[in-house]
Amino acid sequence: MLESSLVELSAQLAARQCSSVELTQYFLDRIDALNPRLNAVITLDAERSLAGARQADARIAAGQAQPLTGIPLLHKDIFCAQGWRTTCASRMLANFVSPYDAHVIAQFDAAGTVNLGKTNMDEFAMGSSNETSWFGPVRNPWNADFVPGGSSGGSAAAVAARLVPAATGTDTGGSIRQPAAMCGVSGLKPTYGMVSRYGMIAFASSLDQAGPLAKSAHDLALMLNVMTGFDPRDSTSLERPSEDYTRELERPLTGLRIGLPKEFFADGVQADVARAIDAAIAEYRRLGAQTLEVSLPNMALSIPVYYVLAPAEASSNLARYDGVRYGYRAAEFSDLGAMYERTRAEGFGAEVRRRIMIGTYVLSHGYYDAYYIKAQKIRRLIAADFARAFSQCDVILGPTSPTTAFALGSRTADPIEMYLCDIYTIAVNLAGLPGVSIPAGFDAARLPVGLQLIGDYFSEARLLNVAHQYQRVTDWHRCSPPMSQD
């Protein structure tokens, strides 16, 4: 069960080789044993999970199972789940028990999966190392003194440590792909609009997108099949014919044109990372793909653009946290204004406060055109770069992150140093394109290296095919950290 894929678990459940209750208890026991070393999980509710498992077993027995029925999953603590504490890893929501389900949670419920608990994350999804959580940092299962990446660090660490077969995450500037890379698992950010944001606590509404983390591209496809679909309650949800994202997995790669942006292979990439990516490129050529150099000339601007747009949208989205209707309220205040100020100063961590202030400033009168509108214009230039590249190639390939995982506390002194972790992932969110990170090797310290594939809009099936074919001829995605065998 430890290494079983979603495909295998589904077959085992169907064949009655195990029950959902057994599977759920197995992973609850693993979380109990290993989570203290990782801090990947914020909230558990064993009774509730097992009740869900019993319902799933009944569905299976009645012949009403869907592909993922009975399988336990962890959900990033950014998804509202009715009756579950939903904290967004913030003091501001530490006591918030959600009165409703996110659309994604409802979809997984309808599919018969078991909610195993809520994973740790960077506070309000703002971070690239899972060090900003009110509940303490998550540790990388490959080395406990190192970060797992962020903001979906808990989900990535949990899948890597085999605490759960798969998990959900969200990605605004790389928050699924980068922790997937640093933890040696697979993670996908779909095309913007493919997964409903209803009930997903908002950070930057034009960039946020939910997606799966799992041990393989095939498993990501199964998760995506559940997560996609039109939701009228999300005004940015796209209405498209439903797809089976596994349908192209076995397509041969002969004739595939892989674009290698020269900006992804410049200085600043750790030597071991470059080596692993080069080996992956060679592997793809052996599989029949051709590679060609492309250029994304405005890519370096993605960092300043993102750090205008995301904080601007966050300052608007986080304005609701005022201690009035739910969540944290300061204990002492003299008047309403002081209540707002103290609640927000005490309820939010430093990075969140930093981004709210940046966002408020760039939207303010006199600065709106120079900052916010300017960033929106450069955003279009960045999207146009990708469009041009996709006229020459089918997928874009590069490292997910310039480096492997770094030591806890090593980048917290300088926010900009932390922001640079996302140099290869952010542009994908700005353009709204789909991107996936898959394991591609290790550095000399046995820390995972992630390979990123970026596709054109709505090309998830093809993207997962390109990822899957690499996973058929390599074993990186089957490697698990030593502590997971304890």
Partner: protein, 69 residues
Amino acid sequence: MVAELNAIFRMIGEMEAVATAQVAPMSHPRDVAQRLRADEVTESNRREELLAIAPQIDAGLYLVPKVIE
């Protein structure tokens, strides 16, 4: 905090050098228009449930410090 904010604003200032006079701002990847729906009630009244999670309530109202003397 101030030093960090200033450093971030310096970084953001790099945008100034980019020529964007003829470029339209992009707020959505697909440039789609806001979808509208019929003006009909679709939510149900869950007042008690929603009040139950509030920090301070009284008689069905949220309590905050006095605003008007």
